[in-house]
């Protein structure tokens, strides 16, 4: 162990300087940081829309904004958060940065394609932001026809163009990951020695490759229908609006797994690292990721129980939705079993990981309520649904993302963030999140519908609780933004392996050199070799 920890003299951040060296880089690590900047900006734009919504819902009357404005707010919030934050968040930032390092490669298989993905993504997000500024779109992020294709007068087509372009960026990232994981693993790194983070991104990439083109063509059809006044989904011309819903959810349900599988990968890394223990049931963990990806493609009809789908189709979709809960539950049980008799420490990334397990469990179990035909009819289009998917997407994906950002922050920047502030914000995010969204389960169960900006007076107490929670949650997101930016420059150097973790990414310097390793590593053992005597701790602190 070295007495003084220093930043290496040359690394990927200081090999070159200037705007050009970033905008024309093909280094996966720099591209990851470009993505980080873009999606952080978009996260706060989408968050601002949520702030206005929660402010409006403080009182039963519609006094802050009008119905039309409120419709645009929840649409912008949904479109930006889903297509421009959650879907790219973990893959495009952490996946981009870590996958080549975790498999011992110098870069992704197609570095220039990777840079092109970021440009496409940025172009798509410019469309989304320009649309928001110019007057917005009011269809909801679901773009249901015939409202989106025939009736609304808002900016549907530019929004669709933005989503289409960003979708291609996602496809190219997924393609790059699949090819990289297949062809560029270091000597000795067999499939069952891969970190679960890599498995999770492999499964995610499969969903991206198979699902995204379908949403692209479906939304293009809506755009064509608007532009040419033809009736692809218009009942007046023999078109079928239900067909739109089928095609839309064929992508958009698996999209939930695009958002949550990478977070599961992150959590698997965090749980083992902070339990000092091998993951429980490695191959079950790997195969359950693949199982979720595969079964996830056959459950989309549970979004359409009240849409006029045949009752037999609904029964099958209900059953399959129960089935997809099994591999998800396997993951929760195995994380818990990994904790059992581990030497658990509660650093801030671990707090996020534990938060993920709890919140994802609540989100998953309420998903089973919604998959049951009878209950679903009672709570369809109520706040129960809103609460459920925010537990998955915010309680799951965002907690995983923030946990991952903290865990790999010393690797990315070479410096250690202030642990006290990190623990503080992890705790208030957890508290604020639950205060925001748990009351919404109750509101939904009591019958408050989603997408309204006014409501009967008896719902006010729960809505005020929710808005109060949202302000705590918002604070919880701003605090890390401040101390992480500070820590990038001023915090103490972290050293190559501050957590004493296993995995190839901890064997190179922090920050890594441009080509990640001085020489290509050779892998001789499993990835979670914790508990092997002293070895894993030798270059930690």
């Amino acid at each position: 162990m070295s007495p003084t920890i220093a930043i290496p003299r040359e690394h990927y951040l200081n090999v070159s300087y200037g705007v050009k060296s970033w905008l024309f880089t093909t280094d996966h690590k720099r591209i990851a940081l470009l993505y980080l900047t873009t999606i952080t900006l978009l996260f706060f734009v989408g968050g601002a829309a949520a702030v206005l919504m929660r402010l409006e819902l403080m009182t039963p009357q519609g006094d802050l904004v009008q119905s039309e404005t409120y419709n645009k707010l929840f649409t912008i919030h949904g479109v930006i958060m889903i297509f421009f934050f959650l879907i790219p968040s973990i893959p495009a930032v952490l996946g981009n940065f870590l996958i080549p390092i975790m498999i011992g490669a110098r870069d992704l298989a197609f570095p220039r394609l990777n840079l092109a993905s970021w440009y496409l993504f940025t172009l798509g997000s410019i469309f989304a932001i320009v649309v928001s500024v110019m007057g917005g779109v009011d269809t909801g992020w679901t773009f249901y026809t015939p409202y989106s294709s025939t009736y609304t007068n808002s900016y549907v087509v530019p929004t669709i163009v933005g989503i289409f372009v960003a979708g291609f960026s996602t496809i190219l990232t997924g393609l790059n990951f699949i090819v990289t994981i297949h062809t560029m693993r270091a000597p000795g790194l067999t499939w069952f020695r891969l970190p679960l983070f890599v498995w999770a991104h492999y499964a995610t990439s499969m969903i991206i490759i198979l699902g995204t083109p379908v949403i692209a063509i479906t939304l293009s059809l809506v755009a064509l229908e608007r532009l040419f006044g033809v009736g692809i989904f218009d009942p007046a011309l023999g078109g079928d609006p239900i067909l739109f819903q089928h095609l839309f959810w064929f992508y958009s349900h698996p999209a939930v797994y695009i958002m949550v599988l990478p977070a599961m990968g992150v959590v698997s890394e965090l749980i083992t690292a902070f339990s000092r223990k091998r993951i429980f049931g490695y191959s079950f963990m790997a195969f359950s990721l693949i199982a979720i990806a595969v079964i996830g493609f056959f459950v989309w009809g549970h979004h359409m129980f009240v849409s006029g789908q045949s009752v037999y189709a609904s029964m099958i979709f209900s059953f399959l939705s129960m089935v997809v809960a099994i591999p998800s539950a396997v993951k929760v049980f195995n994380w818990t079993a990994t904790l059992y008799k581990g030497s658990v420490s509660y650093q801030s990334p671990m707090l996020y990981a534990l938060g993920f397990i709890g919140l994802f469990t609540i989100g998953g179990l309420t998903g089973l309520f919604l998959a049951s035909l009878g209950i679903d009819i009672h709570v369809t289009d109520t706040y129960f649904v809103i609460a459920h998917f925010h537990y998955i997407m915010v309680g799951g994906s965002v907690m995983g993302y923030l946990g991952g950002i903290h865990y790999w922050f010393p690797k990315i920047t070479g410096r250690m963030y202030p642990e006290g502030w990190a623990k503080f914000s992890a705790l208030i995010i957890f508290a604020g999140f639950n205060l925001t969204f748990f009351p919404q389960f109750l509101l939904g169960y009591l019958g408050m519908p989603r997408r309204y900006h006014f409501y009967p007076e008896e719902f006010q107490v729960l809505n005020v609780m929710s808005s109060a929670g949202a302000s705590i949650l918002g604070l919880g997101y701003v605090v890390p933004l401040i101390y992480l930016i500070w820590a990038m420059r001023y915090a103490a150097p972290a050293g190559p392996n501050p957590w004493g973790a296993t995995g190839l990414e901890w064997q190179t310097s922090s920050p890594p050199p441009t080509h990640n390793f001085e020489e290509t590593p050779v892998v001789t053992q499993e990835v979670y070799a914790y508990g092997m005597p002293e070895e894993d701790l030798k270059d930690g602190r």
Partner: protein, 213 residues
């Protein structure tokens, strides 16, 4: 993917680079299948619901030109396969010739397609732009023609991109870029070209032949 037969720095050797390029194209083609798949799914739903109207509408397509175009496109697959073969053998002249031939045959396909589109315009059968139909089921006939135009024009767009791609390859091949050791771009572009042909092999019977029996 790097030019001049050189090995890109992220790969260890040409074999690894070749494998990555080839797998990358296959994965991309899977995406393309799903991209067209959404349209095929929509087509199938409506055809099942309105089979009579779809058969009737299919009669308004030009079976002769469609058949000629099918033959033309299959010919282009042959010349493309020969281009890949000659690239593997390292024959520069033959490679350039077959790439140019493939481009020409592809352009002939597009020319015939444009002729068909023009006829449709003259017959007032272009939904959204110029459409007037006096027979039974006008709405459903229009639906068929919407799918006809979207699917064939998307196919034609892919073909146009393919011709541009082969143009770049022909130029590079003429400059001596490729060799018997390094021909991955020709091979992967060949995969793309054959994919376009296969899409047409499905489009042709679904659009032109459903009214014939």
């Amino acid at each position: 993917m790097e030019g001049n037969g050189a090995l890109a720095e992220q790969f260890d050797d040409l074999a690894q680079q070749h494998e990555a390029a080839s797998l990358g194209m296959w994965v991309f083609l899977v995406t393309e299948i799903l991209f067209f798949g959404g349209l095929f799914a929509g087509y199938t739903v409506y055809r099942a619901a309105y089979s009579e109207a779809f058969r009737e509408a299919s009669h308004h397509l030009d079976l002769l030109l469609g058949s000629i175009n099918t033959a033309v496109l299959i010919t282009s697959s042959l010349t493309m396969a020969l281009a890949v073969h000659n690239a593997q053998e390292g024959r520069r002249r033959a490679l350039v010739v077959f790439l140019l031939l493939t481009m020409i045959v592809g352009a002939v396909f597009l020319g015939i397609k444009v002729t068909e589109y023009t006829h449709k315009y003259e017959q007032d059968l272009v939904p959204g732009i110029r459409f007037a139909y006096g027979g039974p089921h006008p709405g459903q006939v229009q639906l068929f023609l919407i799918f006809y135009f979207i699917m064939t024009s998307l196919h034609a767009l892919h073909l146009t991109i393919g011709i541009g791609l082969l143009g770049v390859l022909a130029f590079l091949a003429w400059r001596g870029h490729f060799s018997a050791d390094y021909y991955a771009p020709v091979e992967t572009s060949g995969l793309y070209w054959h994919f376009i042909d296969i899409v047409w092999i499905f489009l042709f019977p679904l659009l032109y032949l459903i009214g014939t029996h």
